[in-house]
Amino acid sequence: MLSKKLSKVALALVVTLFLGACATQQQATTTTKGDDAYTGTETVKYLADGVPDRVFFSTNKSDLTSAATATLAKQATYLKANPTLNVVLEGHADERGTREYNLALGERRATAAKNYLISNGVAANRIKVISYGKEKPANPASNVLAWSQNRRTVTVKTN
């Protein structure tokens, strides 16, 4: 008696699931904006006069913006002028993503900055990368401005 009742419910469930599937099998589209990297200076610190310590990224992106490459070019010049300095590049994500994916994204952002420094003549063995994912926000607020300030790679001197 119980099993009969259960199988009826199961059948109803299967039908519902099937209908649900039809409704959701659409072309996947994205809900993220393409170009929302932070352009201000509010959270920025300086490695030296005129050498900003961080670059910012768009949501879900690790491409370097033109502002980012301008900053990294200054960092490269500074590092080449100070050849005993070593750095760690800390890659970060905003809080609007799953923890594990954000760890990978932070690593990708830090590596993007590292590759730019290397291509501008900084020795690879002077640069380490670490990802903190969304674990260490620079701005703890939960709003669009804070998220843009938190999608970043920060260059930190290690000696």
Partner: protein, 446 residues
């Protein structure tokens, strides 16, 4: 760091299974009509000493059973003060008309007596009031300080007898305890019973720890730690407190989980901006690379039979869920709805994959079949992620974050559970903020 191992002997002494019981609970739909249940106080054998009597187990055990059953959302507990019959006669020979009068459909009774060497015998009986029959009866032998586990095991037996499915009460949850300001959060591994009791901290909080997961086969946990500022996957024995680095990778390893047999750890390794999925055999230390793609591949989770792996990849340009055979072949995208998908976790029953979805700036916990069909969203919120299945595959635990204000104040993270039906969403109380929950298997085995 030691966790006591409890030994419990379970002995069947009577088992009157009535397969035509009138009372049953249908757990395949949202239960808007929970089963009226009367849980009588147990009665104490008069030969028990005062040291046992003072423990008040005759009320504590039924209370814990009642808490478990009502939290499942499937049972409605009647108030004790409405009970007409006393615990002792109720246990020996219930007057069913008395119990039917208060409109209960099932009755739980019990008896606590003394065995040799200070051990207790805790016996319970489950009665079908409607058909006036005994459904099951079971006795557990244990030490008095172990009464909570006995209560959980009795709860599981009742749940199983009335729903036809295994219970999940005799289980634990490991999670990350969070304290301090958001920009400098202190995180520690914590473990507790599934009902939130007995929180113990497994790490001190000196380094960031993330994403602990239970081994299905042993007292091991795998998790990620920033020990010495090197983000790596570790293996921790929660009985001995001993821990081990997993593999010798020249960069960040993360997103670990066990294989269903507990012999391997599957995880991501990030190198030069690319994360791929690897396994390491815990005994032989042999490492195998399963995916090789310039995109991010992470959050791997085995199917319960070990033959498939679900994972998260942005190879399409955005985060989606994929499956592959456990040797890394036959990679197939399974999520095609609008939005981004992450954290796939295979149900212990094998049929469903739970996930986190981001759509129009809201986060959802949902389930889909392992071929991607039948997507069902269970709950929507500002931020939530990381579902983990109860051992019977009927309940999911996850964490939810509330936003901070424009000054970065407020906010926080808490553990929540929800039934597979999308009903019975519940906050799980923890002494601190909490995230990254992982549900153990049944402690008493399968």
């Amino acid at each position: 760091m030691r966790y006591k191992i409890f030994k419990i002997i379970v002995l069947f002494f009577i088992l009157t299974t009535n397969s035509f019981a009138l009372v049953s609970v249908d757990i395949t739909r949202g239960n808007l009509d929970p089963l009226p249940t009367a849980i009588s106080d147990f009665y104490l054998d008069s030969k028990l000493g005062d040291n046992i009597k003072n423990l008040k187990l005759e009320t504590k055990i039924p209370e814990l059973i009642q808490n478990n059953l009502t939290r499942s959302g499937l049972f409605f507990a009647l108030e004790k003060k409405s009970f007409i019959q006393r615990p002792e006669p109720a246990h020996n020979k219930p007057r069913f008309e008395d119990w039917a009068f208060i409109k209960t459909q099932v009755l739980v009774t019990g008896k606590i007596s003394l065995e040799k060497e200070g051990r207790l015998r805790v016996e319970f009986k489950l009665w079908d009031v409607v058909s006036a029959t005994e459904l099951s009866a079971l006795a557990f032998y244990t030490t008095p300080d172990n009464w909570r586990r006995v209560s959980h095991m009795i709860s599981d037996k009742i749940y199983e007898r009335l729903t036809g499915e295994k219970g999940y009460f005799d289980s634990r949850i490991i999670y990350v305890s969070e304290t301090g300001p958001k920009v400098d959060r202190k995180k520690r591994l914590a473990i507790m019973d599934q009902d939130g009791y007995g929180v113990k901290y497994l790490t001190l909080g000196n380094e960031l720890v993330l994403t602990p997961r239970f081994s299905p086969a042993s007292q091991h946990v795998t998790y990620m730690s920033y020990f010495k500022n090197l983000p790596r996957v570790y293996l921790l024995n929660i009985e001995t407190g001993l821990q081990d680095l997993v593999g010798d990778f020249p960069g960040m390893t993360f997103a670990p989980r066990f294989s269903p047999d507990g012999k391997k750890i599957i995880m991501s390794f990030a190198e030069e901006g690319n994360s791929d999925i690897y396994t390491m055999d815990i005994k032989t230390r042999v490492v195998e690379k399963l995916t090789d793609h310039p995109s991010i591949d992470t959050s791997p989770s085995y199917s319960p039979d070990g033959s498939y792996i679900a994972f998260n990849s942005d190879r399409s340009g955005f985060q989606q869920i994929y499956t592959m055979k456990s040797d890394g072949t036959n990679i197939k995208r399974i999520s095609f709805g609008e939005g981004l998908y992450g954290t796939p976790v295979w149900s212990p029953r094998g049929d469903l994959i739970a996930f986190t979805k981001l759509y129009k700036n809201k986060f959802y916990i949902g389930v889909m079949r392992s071929d991607g069909s039948g997507e069902r969203l269970l709950t929507e919120n500002y931020y939530q992620e990381a579902p983990s299945w109860a051992p019977n595959g009927r309940v999911l635990i996850f964490y939810r974050e509330t936003p901070t204000d424009s000054g970065g104040r407020g906010g926080g993270a808490k553990l929540w559970s929800i039934d597979l039906t999308g009903y019975n969403e519940r906050l799980i109380q923890t002494p601190t903020d909490a995230s990254d929950p992982s549900w153990s298997g049944l402690l008493s085995g399968k």
